[in-house]
Subunit: 409 residues, 2 copies
């Protein structure tokens, strides 16, 4: 008998038919002899609908009230799923985040989990029931309802799996697992059977949309085994665990992120404190700076380039222009049409040729590299947005990912 | 400075525009110097929508889960109204029934209030805020979410007004107050300025749909002043208080109820225990028996007629047929097409001619009376359903209700 946390996203429970299909899977798991805790998101586009009506009703939209509003979506979904499970002769009980013991800070609309005390969930399991918990929600010390933010249901599932000591946290979604690249671009992208936390974290940080990066970090920190799999075909998906000592793929996946823009500040005086001044000003304005590259200094001046999400570009340019007037640099230029392609693999740590292969592959395809950044298990290149899909396909092909992983000797 | 509880029904907050209109009224009241606690129902047809999706998802629909589901509707409405109030520069905080301190029994889908401990509401008022509470909801001793049933928001408002010692409980609705009769049938029906709890209770028990009877009983028991008024024109409505010793209207209103059916059991042996056997069987089957009339006994046998809601007719007939076989009576007949018309007035206690005027009026209009039942302040007649609207108009006219109340000398 295993204790499983099963998390279902909004698409997986988007219609009454889907609700019943999920209920059947939960009942099947229970009949197999396992204990199940379900974490569920709001149905389909319900969260978007709630955000829309809030905009129609109010201009101020205080965070406390937004959280009270948004969390109603998951609450509805928990109750409906319990009803559908009950139809199959299996007892189920719904719980709000507060009832499930999620204590959070008071940062409304984007709260952080402080502690999980799942006493009522344990009692529900002990009584032979399925516990169904509303995702992405909790209660602050002031006993106000809080929302963990979009994608927070994955984090709820992982935190609950950790608090309960579950054997696995199954993240059900509308794709069959984690792929070697985006299947919409790379037609022969392959579903991976296994991947490490570090690899998945680099992938989610560099454009892979699911699961939510925050939940992968939580799972890595606490060693919660993840299983990313399909709520439509129910086939086995991708298992995510700590690094294996046995064999490590040199390159596991190619991911990309088209939501990038580049800012270059030119003629920066090459003396201490100038870069710090600029990036402190950007951080204070909540601009999410990603890659930063500083070119070699020539005659006491240098250029600094960095990338930001598209939505932050205008703000970033304005801040740089102000900072330029203060600390003195000659130009600020913005390039909105760029994208980042990244090659991720836990085995590249001990296999230094990967970066070279990346550069050669892009060069052979006439794709110019604007910026480069690397970590121990990742090589990222910023390229023109128009080139990014060709870059992804070429790199996927170049590392032979469609055929299965190439392991470190 | 007054402390007011203002309750808004689903139609009053059915659209974003309506939400903002209600927010403006609340802000107006606060600016006038009053403290306001708002109780709110789910928006428009949302409760019906939730019931529909529950039917689509599940056949069993356990009560605990239905309550978790349905109460999401009020929760959304509280948050949205708080946002709309915040836009007007007035601070507002939403509260679920549980947060507002409503402890109920565990009768899911139709819970009863055990106690109200509105500590957080008092704190919100003390901080100069408007507290917005979700109607018809609470928490059981087992810490499960409970729903008070349809129309439960009126009861929430009255119970909260009582617990807080509010000066008045304002029930805002889509009509301007309590009328002398149904304005859809009686074109010159008059809005009453004032009415007693006893009268309103008789009216709601005999077909007047608003406010919910249960809330009127609660208000009468605890002496909570009600003010039934319009959320569309904001004009002053009908104030409901304890009986006045000064002057009492002989007849205040004519109400009717078309959701009635009549069952007659004939040839009943006129000996003790037979009627008891029948009505115990009906009560055990949750058949809601209303009027009961027993005709004069002839030669040791008698007839008993009673009325039930239309929906219970089939069940009632089946139970009577079984009981007939057990205790021996000769016939069971059902008449679905009947209705009840009632004349209500606190002053008729000391003014015995009212029943006679009712009978004369109906006779003059060729309307046959099938059953009669009276209380100290009400005369009810069961008539053919086809006659009931004519009966209402004739009685309203006969007692001159369009012109204002006729008081007891």
């Amino acid at each position: 008998m295993a204790l499983l946390v099963q998390k279902f996203g909004g698409t997986s429970v988007g219609t009454p038919d889907r609700m019943r299909a999920v209920a059947e899977h939960v009942a099947r798991t229970v009949r197999r002899g396992d204990q199940v805790v379900v974490v569920i998101s709001a149905m389909g586009k319900e969260t978007d609908d709630l955000l829309r009506i809030a905009r129609e009703v109010s201009n101020t939209r205080p965070g406390r009230e937004m959280d009270m509003l948004i969390t109603a979506g998951e609450r509805k979904a928990t109750a409906l799923l319990c009803m559908a499970i009950a139809d199959l002769g299996v007892e189920a009980e719904s719980f709000t985040g507060s009832q499930a013991g999620f204590l959070t800070d008071s940062t409304h609309t984007n709260a952080k989990i402080i502690e999980v005390k799942p006493d009522r969930i344990r009692a529900s399991l002990a009584a032979g029931r399925v516990a169904v918990v509303g995702g992405a929600q909790g209660q602050s010390a002031e006993r106000n309802v809080t929302f963990l933010g979009r994608g927070g249901s994955d984090t709820t599932a992982v935190a609950l799996a950790h608090a309960l000591g579950a054997d696995s946290c199954e993240l059900y979604t509308d794709v069959p697992g984690v792929f070697t690249s985006d299947p919409r671009i790379v037609t022969n992208a392959r579903k991976m059977e296994h991947i490490t936390f570090d690899e998945l974290l680099e992938m989610t940080a560099n454009g892979c949309p699911k699961p939510a990066m925050r939940s992968v970090e939580y799972a890595r920190t606490h060693g919660v085994e993840l299983h990313v799999r399909s709520a439509f075909t129910w086939e086995s998906g991708t298992v995510v665990t700590k690094e294996s000592t046995m064999e490590q793929a040199i390159v596991s996946a190619v991911v990309h992120d088209a939501d990038e823009a580049k800012v270059t500040i030119g003629g920066v005086a090459d003396r201490p404190g100038v870069a710090a001044h600029v990036f402190r000003a950007l951080a204070d304005a909540d601009v999410n700076v990603d890659l930063i590259v500083q070119n070699t200094s020539e005659q006491g001046v240098t250029d600094i380039s960095f990338t930001v999400p598209h939505g932050d570009l205008e703000k970033a340019v304005a801040i740089c222009e102000t900072a330029g007037a203060e600390v003195g640099f000659t130009s600020v230029t913005a390039e909105p049409a760029i994208a980042r392609v990244s090659v991720v693999g836990a085995g590249m740590k001990s296999h230094p040729g990967v970066a070279a292969t990346v550069f050669e592959t892009l060069a052979a395809n006439d794709i110019n590299i604007e910026m480069i950044a690397t970590s121990a298990i990742r090589v990222s290149c910023v390229v023109a947005e128009a080139d990014v899909e060709r870059a992804v396909v070429a790199l996927h092909d170049s590392f032979g990912l469609a055929n299965g992983p190439v392991y470190v000797d």
